[in-house]
Amino acid sequence: MKKRVGVLALQGDFHRHIQSLEKLQIPSKAVRWPDDLSDCDALILPGGESTTFMNLMNQTGLTEAICEFGQKKPLMGTCAGLIVLATEVVNNHIDPLGLIDLRVERNAYGRQINSFSEKIQIPSFTDQPKFEAVFIRAPKIIALGKGTEALGFYLDQVVMARNERVLAATFHPELTRDHRIHDFFYREFVERN
């Protein structure tokens, strides 16, 4: 039986993540309240606005619920989702969950006018290591802490990283038709957990 992947559906492009999962025939579920996590085996935090996420998570009790969930179950965060999962955001007042030891800078490439797409290198995708990545007002990983491994690279920057249970990307794999990152998350994190 396939495991079910929840997608945080407070705001943002959560529907695109659900579509990516559907393409891979992975059962999914929209998560808005702590109770919604009860029948999920993993959780994806999508792109959107991290301040909006944190605001709603704090009001609904999801902040504590996701922290607890993350002690046992795998999580994936893209863009704003990565910011929420990180340990420190240098240029913002939000207090992230600290589930992956990353120091990040928000909107690090500038405003929307500097948003871009570019091929990045993911060496663990041995058959085809290039991945077309879309960076929308994207954050940058400034430092990786203990137990955090770099997985994806754009120029000299780490744009995808993991620890034991968390996969995080500064870009949006849900915005392209290449579903290898979702597939990788499911096989390497969700199935093995």
Binding site: G12, G48, I113, S115, F116, S117
Partner: protein, 293 residues
């Protein structure tokens, strides 16, 4: 590195889904909006209710004021240019505004042409009252569509009419035969390829947001249930008696639009909403939704 592409422009529109975009006139209001959970702010000197009350020609806001707001929040900042005023649009793009609203709230600068939005790296949002208008704006390069509603009234009826019209017309296109699409496109004055997209997918090729008259959490919930993917709140927040609380409540109601329990709880603590305006009492020349075509 590809910048300003369709993927990148529509990508930001995707990130704003399920959220609330709030009109603000200064840095303090922008901060209140950000703290309340707004996904973006619309920087403008006068909110629609004041433009309506004061009359005269409404233009793009002063760049200094837009820059101050951009410096004070980390969420995306939008700003409005007049319909067809490509020089105002160029200024907004130069300032680094994240989304440009070619808006009927301002006095149109061109009675024939809208801005050729393909020439810009910044994404555009445009208003519509019906499907043909939406598709013409998309053909010109808009990366997001919103209903026009009747701005600055606190009266939801026009936004409802526009959203219902767009959704109903999409449903009609879906059931047409493929051989009927070319003639239908001719009748509507829209490109055939966009109509083929609607026929196949049953939705607009860009996010479809609601704007114009949203004043309460229940208004936001209504628009989301009718098919809006996010809501713009213009005068509704900072013309109310409790902007911070109202902003927070509308954000909560937008996320949980299909849960009356939560929308009720969000509405409970609020004081008075902005005073509303009955559409039939607006002098004909002051109707904003008729600007643009």
């Amino acid at each position: 590195m590809d910048k300003g592409t369709w993927t990148v422009k529509s990508g930001l529109a995707q990130m704003l889904k399920g959220g609330v975009i709030m009109d603000v006139t200064n840095a303090d209001q922008a901060k209140i909006a950000e703290d309340a959970g707004a996904v973006a702010v619309m920087a403008l000197e006068r909110i629609p209710a004041d433009i309506r009350a004061q009359g005269g020609v409404a233009r793009m806001s002063n760049p200094k004021m837009i820059k101050e707001i951009m410096a004070n929040v980390t969420i995306p900042v939008m700003a409005k240019c007049r319909i067809g005023h490509l020089a105002e649009a160029q200024i907004l793009e130069f300032l680094g505004v994240d989304f440009i609203d070619e808006s009927e709230v301002l006095t149109p600068a061109d009675e024939k042409y809208h801005v050729d939005k393909w020439q810009f790296k910044a994404p555009f949002v445009c208003g519509c009252r019906e499907l043909a208008e939406a598709l013409r704006r998309i053909a010109e390069g808009a990366a997001m569509i919103r209903t026009k509603g009747e701005p600055g009234t606190g009266n939801i009826v026009e936004a409802v009419r526009h959203m219902r019209t767009v959704i109903s017309e999409i449903n009609q296109i879906k059931i047409l035969g493929e051989d009927e699409l070319v003639i239908k496109a001719k009748e509507m004055g829209v490109p055939v390829d966009l109509l083929v997209y609607i026929h196949k997918k049953g939705k607009l090729p860009v996010p479809n947001f609601a704007a114009g008259g949203i004043a309460t959490p229940a208004d936001a919930s209504l628009m989301m249930q009718l098919g809006a993917e996010s809501v713009f709140v213009g005068s509704g927040i900072f013309k109310s008696e409790d902007p911070a609380e109202r902003a927070t409540a509308i954000v909560m109601a937008t996320t949980n639009y299909d849960n009356p329990d939560i929308v009720a709880k969000a509405s409970e603590k609020l004081a008075g909403a902005m005073p509303g305006l009955e559409i039939s009492e607006i002098p004909e020349g002051s109707i904003m939704q008729d600007r643009g075509w």
